[in-house]
């Protein structure tokens, strides 16, 4: 997502593989939700070997930390995102749901 003002978009359930970067958030974007995506193999190993200066990753979050929601993605490498995360997508949602049913709501302090 490029340019400030790219806000409140939803990127979910996508598969992003073998690109020079996977998903990019540039400085200044906010309110975007990146969830339940499979983002891996970005960049492909051949590209990393041939062009080591191009430091691509699966999720590159250059925005102010905490201003976007990056959650429950399958990913391996990142800047300012919770990777590696190799659980089955949706595991966190299921856990939150189970906790809520048990009266242990993770959203409550």
């Amino acid at each position: 997502m490029v340019a400030p003002g790219t806000n409140d978009n939803v990127i979910e359930d996508n598969t992003v593989l073998g690109n020079t970067n996977g998903i990019i958030l540039v400085p200044g974007v906010e309110g975007n939700i990146i969830r339940h995506n499979i983002v891996a193999g970005n960049p492909p190993v051949q590209l990393s070997a041939q062009f080591p200066a191009d430091d691509g990753v699966d999720i590159k979050n250059q925005a102010t930390p905490g201003t976007n929601t990056i959650d429950d993605n399958f990913c391996l490498t990142a800047v300012n995102a919770a990777c590696p995360a190799i659980g089955r997508r949706g595991d966190k949602d299921e856990k939150d749901k189970d906790d809520k049913e048990k009266g242990d709501d993770p959203q409550q302090p």
Binding site: T6, N9, E12, N14, V16, L47
Partner: protein
């Protein structure tokens, strides 16, 4: 006299029916596109598309609240997937610029464009769903200064180049 009136009524009905059908009918797209095709009504691919447009989008949305269905077909740009991929400004498979509530619906493949597979520029509430983007020289899908767009269920693979390390999305 009454028979003549009746015939006139039937004719008017048929005219109204066909006029209505024409208005609702989708624009059908296939074949080679050599200058930007701007759509102003709901449209669909009825065959593979080859784009030879230089420095501009292949298909552009010209109005809000339109739907483009890819119907499992492929839109192919000018780059060669087997050689280094220079990114050239302006080239995209589909551009949604300054619109709102448009929909691009797969399944379908958008490949080998010199810049972006899909470009959303200053657009709002656009949905891109179930589309595959491959071997585009910059990004598979790029969102530039737009809000409340939804990208869901897409596959973005092997996009970008060392000179333009953008991303799948």
């Amino acid at each position: 006299m009454s028979r003549a009136l009746s015939a006139l009524g039937v004719t008017a009905f048929l005219l109204a029916l066909f006029a209505g059908t024409g208005t609702a009918r989708a624009n059908e797209i296939s074949g080679t596109i050599s200058s930007t095709l701007t759509i102003f009504e709901d449209s669909e691919l009825v065959g593979d598309v080859t784009c030879t447009v230089v420095g501009a989008p292949c298909i552009a949305f010209g109005a809000p609240e339109l739907k483009l269905e890819l119907n499992g077909f492929t839109i192919t740009g000018r780059s060669n997937a087997l050689t280094p991929c220079p990114a050239l400004a302006g080239e995209a498979g589909i551009a949604v610029d300054n619109q709102h509530d448009d929909v691009i619906k797969g399944p379908g493949l958008i490949q080998q464009f010199h810049q972006f597979g899909i470009r959303l520029l200053q657009s709002m509430n656009t949905v891109v769903k179930d589309v595959t983007l491959s071997s585009n020289c910059a990004s598979g899908i790029i969102v530039i200064a737009g809000s409340d767009n939804e990208l869901k269920g897409n596959v973005s693979v092997r996009n970008g180049s060392p000179g333009a390390p953008c991303g799948g999305i």
